[in-house]
């Protein structure tokens, strides 16, 4: 269905080719998962299939990519629109019209499909994706999972042979992600659509894949093969594969179900052992909210939230899209004024405090760290941060060196990878030595290596008696890092306690290792590996 013949892509002003030596064929009707570290060329590879590379992005494409017999070099994306459907990470960037039904019809209108056919296909697609109740809704009023399903539906109505998805579940909570993945699986099974999907969150998707295409990066050639074989040697792998490697299982399990069926001996080995759990922190709270209510427009986004954050403690804040996580962080950082109730950080009331004083107490890294970066170079950014914080010259640069070793002074923040940019933003806000650090979705767009670095950095900060609150959908990150987990639903706290207790009690928020080894309280591969090592 898709063939790559000696494909390489070279962007102007880049020293290295973005993609090189891709020579493979993807057969029809398979779900192929594209994995690899950041910067290995995953998005570029997807772009060559939809024709956006090179027609839209520029750069030079060597070799040939053909999709259903059409050469993407001589066909512009619009001429491939009837065979390739493309959906990106942010569905809102994809929408052209403003209601669900019109959005589903848009692609067909562009292709000149007859009105009767359009009518029938819209109805079929509404049913296929479970959108029938939402047909007249304005797109802006839908939840993240619903929007992503509409985006997928809007390319499905033209009956494409190939579906190209770039991180379709990265921005979604676990429930919404499952919604979207169930739809994709149905397409592959029922309609024979070929799906090519890039995703960092392997734990969510790998069990659905028929094939895995690994782009190792660093000039190494891509590897295509059975998921278990490829992941055995892949630098990126989900926790369940990590558990399989630790336990020495072969072939490696890809789903929780596979792993559970093989886990009896491991459970026996672990019997009597206890995971190393960080001791609960008993210090005086640094920040507190009491009966906190915040309104956004007429709607209360938070309803009577009581929360205490202690120095040296990492707290994970979880909950579905729109549950009020970002609003809570905003209220703690003084961006939102409470409608009732109080917020206190040290002696300060955040929304009334002067910004210069506030940044010494609390720092927030927003979902998109670029919001915090204004300067042209890393050096200028650091100088500005020292000035803002009133810190000694060079404070921020030293922090950057610690979090992000070896970055050149004159690099433009825009040219950094997602993980590097996050580290730079962290260094900038840490310059003022705030006691409380808030992070909104820090692992969005990070690969496993960048995530592991982030975990180390945050552990060190917690050991340095910073209080850390991170809002995240990433259950694996919360299990790895958080002493405590707070679950929000509809603006109310529905669970608050030690991470192990909270996540083990909820199938949606349980990490893979916990699902495999339950009812025993193991959460991460690291815990299991450490326990096995100490017992042998």
């Amino acid at each position: 269905m898709i063939t790559f013949e000696q494909v390489s892509v070279h962007y102007t002003d880049a020293a290295e080719p973005a993609l090189t030596g891709v020579d493979l064929t993807l057969p029809e009707g398979e779900l192929c998962l594209l994995v690899g570290p950041s910067g290995a060329g995953k998005s570029t590879l997807l772009g060559t299939v939809s024709g956006l590379v090179p027609h839209f992005t520029g750069g030079v494409l060597h070799g040939r990519v053909t999709v259903a017999g059409r050469d993407t070099r001589t066909h512009r994306p619009r001429e491939l629109a009837d065979v390739v459907g493309t959906v990106g990470q942010d569905p809102r960037a994809h929408f052209v019209t403003d209601t669900v039904e019109d959005e589903l019809a848009y692609g067909m209108e562009s292709l000149g499909i007859a009105p009767e056919v359009m009518r029938r296909r819209v109805e079929e697609t509404l049913d296929l994706l479970g959108l029938a109740d939402l047909r007249d809704r304005a797109l802006g009023t839908l939840s993240g999972g619903q929007q992503q399903r509409v985006a997928i539906g809007s390319v499905l109505t033209v009956h494409p042979k190939v579906l190209v998805l770039d991180e379709p579940t990265s921005a979604l909570d676990p429930g919404a992600a499952e919604e979207v993945l169930a739809v994709l699986q149905r397409l592959v099974h029922d309609l024979g659509t070929t799906v090519l999907m890039a995703e960092h969150r392997l734990e969510r998707v790998v069990q659905y894949a028929d094939q895995v295409l690994l782009l190792p990066g660093g000039g190494q050639p891509p590897v295509l093969g059975e998921p278990a074989e490829v992941l055995a040697h892949s630098p990126v792998f989900p926790p369940v594969v990590g558990l399989g490697r630790v336990a020495g299982w072969s072939p490696l399990p890809l789903s929780v179900r596979d792993a559970r069926r093989r886990a009896a001996p491991l459970r026996a080995r672990l019997a009597g052992l206890r995971p190393e759990v960080p001791a609960p922190v008993a210090a005086e709270p640094l920040a507190e909210t009491a009966r906190l209510t915040v309104r956004r427009g007429p709607v209360p986004a938070l309803r009577g939230v009581d929360l205490a954050l202690r120095p040296g403690e990492v707290t994970a804040l979880m909950g579905r899209n729109g549950a009020g996580k970002s609003t809570l962080l905003g209220a703690l950082a003084g961006l939102q004024a409470p409608a009732s109730g109080t917020v206190r950080i040290g002696a300060l009331t955040p929304h009334k405090a002067r910004p210069q004083e506030l940044i010494r107490q609390v720092a927030l890294v927003p979902q998109d760290p670029r919001d915090l970066l204004y300067s042209e170079t890393v050096e200028a950014e650091c100088t500005a941060a020292d000035h803002d914080a009133g810190a000694a010259a060079g404070t921020c640069r030293a922090l950057v060196e610690r979090l992000l070793p070896g970055i050149a002074d004159h690099t433009h923040p825009r040219d950094l990878s997602e993980g590097q940019r996050l580290s730079l933003a962290l260094a900038v806000v840490l310059t003022a030595r705030p006691a409380l650090l808030l992070l909104d979705e820090p692992t969005r767009g990070l690969d496993y290596a960048a995530k592991a670095r982030l975990v180390e950095i945050l552990r060190a900060l917690a050991a340095d008696s910073h209080a850390i609150l991170l809002a995240t959908h990433d259950v694996e990150l919360a299990a790895e890092l958080a002493h405590r987990t707070v679950v929000l639903a509809d603006g109310e706290v529905v669970a608050d306690g030690p991470s192990a207790d909270v996540v083990l009690g909820s199938p949606a928020f349980a990490p893979q290792v916990a699902k495999v080894l339950q009812p025993e309280p193991w959460l991460t591969v690291r815990q299991v590996a450490a326990a096995l090592e100490s017992s042998s």
Binding site: H94, S110, L111, M118, L335
Partner: protein
């Protein structure tokens, strides 16, 4: 770039069983956007013929009543308030300029005298400060009110008919221009949201988050993200087949361009003639010729497009009534203003209390018809409560 292979032909439009193409005209539905625009343009045309403040306020009231009665709960429906504020701002600016810069209107009723700025000889004819007369202020007030009323009429159409729905009724040849316009209209709200987000982020860096400097300093990042969003949308539209064309001979393409340009020029000239008071006999024939040429151009141009339309809105009785009421308001006021110009222009020199001309007022009230004749918008378009939106449904 020309396609290497021709675009595959559209699916044949004659299936075995014919199903209804347009939406049903029964029950709650969105009115055809063209009807709303004709209605509001009718009101605007009536407003443009008058400086009588009572008549202008009556037009604003009629528009406001219809908007409240028949708007849906979709995001664009809130644009009426924004246009109302813009209208008031225009009015304020117009009066302020008349006060500061003086006015050519002769007047004897001096309200107060501002200190006059001495200007060099070459700036003769320009005055800053000085006497402010009642006549000048009244003239500016009425003139500003007329401009504000025009804006508010446009705002009413915007609130009642979504810009994207209007796009769907454009002829194929104009479609791409229309998309550009719609993207531009969504640009402004996104820009405002970006400015707010980035100003909030300034606070996180420990800088002041209000004041003019905070707006200026986020300018570059805001433009950057707006540009990125536009590029992402353009890429998404391209991958969904936007801009596919069917090949047409070069001669037809040239004829299309010539007809469209000449037609539009003719229409512009004729409309200008109609709306300025001293209209000659040439306007109507030129208008008809222009319309004919532009229509021909559009018809020819549509041969290039392969687009089809999904469930177009029907043009039924309600549409006739709504569009008719707007045109009736325009027609009646234009006719009345020709017969009795004094009723439409309140005297400023000497200042006189405005009087509401009854015949004209009755004509404007015809514009209320849509509040009863138009179908109510479907309730499905409005989320039952905003709270329900926050819950993703896990079905």
């Amino acid at each position: 770039m020309t396609p290497a292979t021709p675009v595959p032909p559209a699916t044949p439009a004659t299936p075995a069983t014919r199903t209804r193409g347009t939406r049903s005209a029964l029950g709650p539905r969105h009115l055809h956007p063209g009807a709303w625009w004709l209605w509001s343009l009718g009101l605007a045309a009536a407003a443009s013929r008058s400086t009588n403040p009572l008549l202008l306020l009556l037009i604003v009231a009629v528009a406001a009543y219809v908007v409240t009665a028949r708007r849906s709960d979709a995001p664009w429906s809130r644009s009426y308030g924004a246009f109302l504020r813009i209208g008031l701002a225009v009015l304020a600016v117009r009066v302020l300029f008349a006060v500061l810069l003086g006015s050519p209107v002769p007047g004897s009723h001096v309200l107060f005298t501002l200190p006059q700025l001495p200007l060099p000889g070459w700036a003769q004819g320009v005055r800053i400060g000085g006497r402010v007369t009642l006549e000048a202020v009244l003239f500016a007030l009425y003139d500003g009110l007329r401009l504000a009323t025009l804006l508010i009429c446009v705002g009413a159409a915007n609130a009642l008919a979504s810009p994207a729905r209007l796009l769907r009724v454009l002829p194929g040849a104009l479609y791409e221009v229309g998309v550009a316009a719609v993207v531009a209209t969504s640009f402004a709200p996104n820009l405002v949201a970006d400015v707010q987000r980035l100003r909030a982020a300034r606070r996180l860096r420990g800088r002041a988050d209000h004041g003019i400097r905070s707006v200026l300093s986020v300018g570059l990042p805001v433009l950057e993200s707006a540009l990125e969003r536009s590029v992402a949308l353009a890429a998404a539209m391209d991958t969904r087949g936007f801009g596919r064309t069917a090949p047409v001979p070069r001669s037809i393409a040239r004829a299309t361009a010539a007809l469209t340009v000449c037609g539009l020029l003719g229409i512009c000239a004729a409309v200008y003639g109609l709306l300025t008071a001293g209209s000659g006999d040439w306007t109507v024939p030129v208008l008809l010729l222009g319309l004919g040429a532009a229509g021909g151009g559009l018809l020819l141009g549509s041969r290039r497009t392969v687009r089809t339309r999904y469930r177009p809105d029907p043009w039924a009785r309600a549409e006739w009534l709504v569009a008719g009421s707007g045109l009736a308001v325009a027609g009646a006021t234009i006719w009345l203003s020709g017969r009795d110009p004094a009723a439409f222009a309140t005297s400023v020199v000497p200042p006189a209390a405005p009087v509401l001309p009854l015949a004209a007022a009755a004509a404007v009230l015809l514009g209320l018809l849509p509040a009863f004749a138009a179908p109510s918008p479907p309730s499905g378009a409005l989320p039952s409560t905003a709270r329900a939106d926050r819950k993703p449904d896990q079905s």
